[in-house]
Symmetry: C2
Subunit: 209 residues, 2 copies
């Protein structure tokens, strides 16, 4: 699959590397594709990923992953131009600057704003677990879940195997409005990791029987 | 422990029965303690639980459990009189009437309102799993978690074994303000059960390593 990853930080970098290793055609969208940091990232993929502007990355891809910090998300999407034919995966959490809460409330969600800004078929995913657990989500024999939601069935069908590629169990939790619930779930993960000082080695699983 | 359970519906009824079986002194606070429904509930505990007004139940107990529907919570707490010396366990979720969202936003939480109304040491607990799973929270060998949060360490120490009694693994997720995150987590549980038609046989677990 041709995937644009907007942002090459800990979330985007980890996703892009793992997807590249799975044979996907990954393009990072970054402000400076020639920087030493990006060159090192591309080298770490064995040359299987590329980098360009947000517009170049998105233009060459069918899936666009938003993995920039929340305050940069709107501009990154606008940079891409027309996204109406793309699947956008929103990994953001609209965190307040002190990491103690969300700046987007339960009457909407980051994912719904992303949908409005992009006009694309948006799936919320990858936001409820720390990026250090991507590809490494086994916990004493139990595998962490990758919760996702969205309004377009075809887009979700496309995203599901991308979640499995990251070695998370894909769990469809319904329509995009449920990002209003996944974003607080992510905030809980973050609060435990940072404010409660647990560190990053925890993950949510939805038990079923 | 002497425990007042405000409300005898599916949440309060299940908690009270299980705690009574564990030897706790349970008093249900209900509008009509002489009703056939309450008599049947008390009989089902083998006579080990009592019922009275909210004020009677709370006055005789050291722990007060709020398990009435959210719209009834403020009045139930006011009925109890002075709660400043009690531990209050808030099990509520401030659901909108269509069960599709929360009516209390991320800038506060039901638990924090309960704290303001009661003046008590409040612990949020028991709200993130369906009551049908209380005492029955094993899922293919994995046990569901009972997340709780609060600002008073002594109150949390008191509540923790009460969670274990319900056969959930107690997981302390920090200060009371984190009820802002547990309440959306509960909304996710509820949305999957009802709106996504999964039914009640699922539960969250926080994997660790």
């Amino acid at each position: 699959m041709k995937i644009a990853v907007l942002g090459a930080g800990n979330v985007g970098g980890a996703l892009g590397k793992l997807w590249a290793a799975k044979g996907h055609e990954v393009r990072f969208g970054v402000p400076d594709p020639e920087s030493e940091k990006i060159k090192a990232l591309l080298a770490s993929t064995g040359g299987r990923a590329k980098a360009g502007s947000n517009r170049e990355a998105a233009g060459a891809s069918e899936v666009v992953v938003v993995s920039v910090p929340w305050p940069a998300a709107e501009q990154a999407l606008r940079d891409c131009g027309d996204l109406s034919s793309k699947v956008v995966i929103d990994c953001t959490n609209p965190l307040s600057s002190d990491l103690k809460g969300l700046v987007v409330g339960l009457t909407t969600s980051a994912a719904e704003k992303v949908a409005a800004w992009s006009g694309a078929k948006v799936v919320k995913a990858f936001n409820t677990i720390g990026a250090g657990n991507y590809g490494n989500a086994e916990f004493a024999g139990a595998r962490a879940d990758g919760f996702y939601c969205g309004d377009d069935a075809a887009a979700k069908t496309k995203v599901k195997p991308l979640i499995a590629d990251i070695v998370l169990t894909p769990v469809d939790v319904g329509p995009l409005r449920n990002a209003r619930l996944l974003e607080p779930l992510a905030m809980l993960w973050i609060d435990l990791a940072i404010n409660q000082k647990w560190g990053p080695n925890h993950a949510f699983k939805l038990l079923r029987r």
